[in-house]
Amino acid sequence: MIEPRKKIKVATTSLAGCFGCHMSLLDIDQRLFTLLEHIEFDRSPLTDIKTCSPDCDIGIVEGGLCNTENIHVLREFRRNCKILIALGACAINGGLPAQRNHLPLAVLLEEVYHTSPGLANGMIPNDPELPLPLDRVHPIHEVVHVDYAIPGCPPSGDAIWKVLTDLLAGREPELGHGLLHYD
């Protein structure tokens, strides 16, 4: 009897991102069925599994780091995934959330919870359950080693498909003109 080939285990997560990159993953459309012949999803918003298995082959991270929870999850991905991919502008350079980086965190919290219209006398949330915000948003490569990046805001389904199929075929992933874009 022929042993069924072991499937590649893929984990995905969104840190400080908007889930747009995960939407692009779904934009792979019917080719997802082809992909699913070769891969299975581990921890991912698609499976709702909460922690990575220790033997993941590929980790795909959307979003940058804006709080301590993000760092925790990112380190878990790095520990458990052989290949780590930064997916999209936020993971690669902080993206839109990083545009708060030149504003002091205290000013931002004041603005959001105290001085916005309708929120006078609001409280800055301080429940110990809440992850602490970082003073700046960071791209993920500033905290862990990243093997590949797929730029774009979001990258197209085609770009994600290209990188994943390159990796599955044992090729160095490459995005040519049209697939490589930063916007």
Binding site: N93, G94, L96, A98, P151, C153, L175, H177, Y182, D183
Partner: protein, 238 residues
């Protein structure tokens, strides 16, 4: 009779006095560059156009062509160095392309595409640079300035105005506006100035025109910067 040298094995004719960059672009060969503009004296500041000549590296925009030169340009070694330079430019400024009006028409971005830059690699500086929206027709977003000094040259040499200058040294170098207040509104800058059109990135932007052409249909969305005639200095974006 014109003389010749070679670039990556291709024979390039040149007139005495021409630079390697000039002869190459005349022959339809693209050498990545950001601070070079055919209308201005080369200032040699970005070093993107570095090539190897007879085994030594040199900026091709300032190097005079000489007969029999052996120039290497499109090699993995040199492109890797150019890619590193673009990565440094990206982390030294605040380049958030998805929210930049110039995205798709930007030479820095298109050059990075050409060089296959997948990420900026280095730690980001996230510098604190204010935007100047004081002028009625023009917005200045210094977050994206790569200090190519083309606006300085255009304003001084073509517009005869001296609106812009580079100030400071090393990593502290920054673009300043020649007004007591430091604001563009307090200069005689106008939309018709040459300096309003030369910026290779999204610093000097015409107001109320952003996103008229949707992202995905812009200059370098359609063709890469290496296609002859696709360098933005020959293209009007308004």
């Amino acid at each position: 009779m014109s003389q010749t040298f070679t670039i990556d094995g291709r024979v390039i004719p040149f007139e005495v006095g021409q630079t390697v960059m000039q002869a190459a672009s005349q022959a339809g060969i693209y050498i990545p560059h950001l601070c070079y503009h055919p209308a201005f004296k080369p200032n040699g500041s970005c070093k993107l156009c570095t090539v190897k000549v007879n085994g030594r590296q040199s900026a091709s925009c300032t190097l005079r062509a000489q007969s029999g030169m052996v120039v290497e340009s499109d090699t993995e070694e040199i492109n890797a160095e150019r890619r590193m330079l673009t990565q440094m430019l990206f982390v030294e400024g605040n380049h958030f392309c998805p929210s930049c009006e110039k995205s798709g028409n930007c030479q820095l971005q298109a050059t990075a595409y050409h060089l296959g830059m997948m990420s900026p690699h280095f730690d980001h500086f996230f510098p604190d640079r204010a935007v100047d929206a004081s002028h009625p027709d023009i917005l200045l977003d210094f977050n994206r300035c790569i200090l190519c000094s083309l606006c300085v040259q255009a304003s001084r040499e073509v517009d005869k105005k001296q609106v812009f200058a580079l100030s400071g040294r090393g990593i502290g170098t920054h673009l300043i506006i020649n007004a007591r207040s430091g604001r563009l509104a307090d200069t005689d800058f106008s939309l018709a100035d040459k300096a309003a059109q030369v910026c290779p990135v999204g610093v000097i932007l015409k107001k109320r025109t952003g996103f008229a052409v949707p992202i995905g249909q812009r200059t370098y969305d359609q063709q890469p910067i290496s296609v002859p005639g696709k360098v933005a200095e020959e293209i009007r974006h308004d």
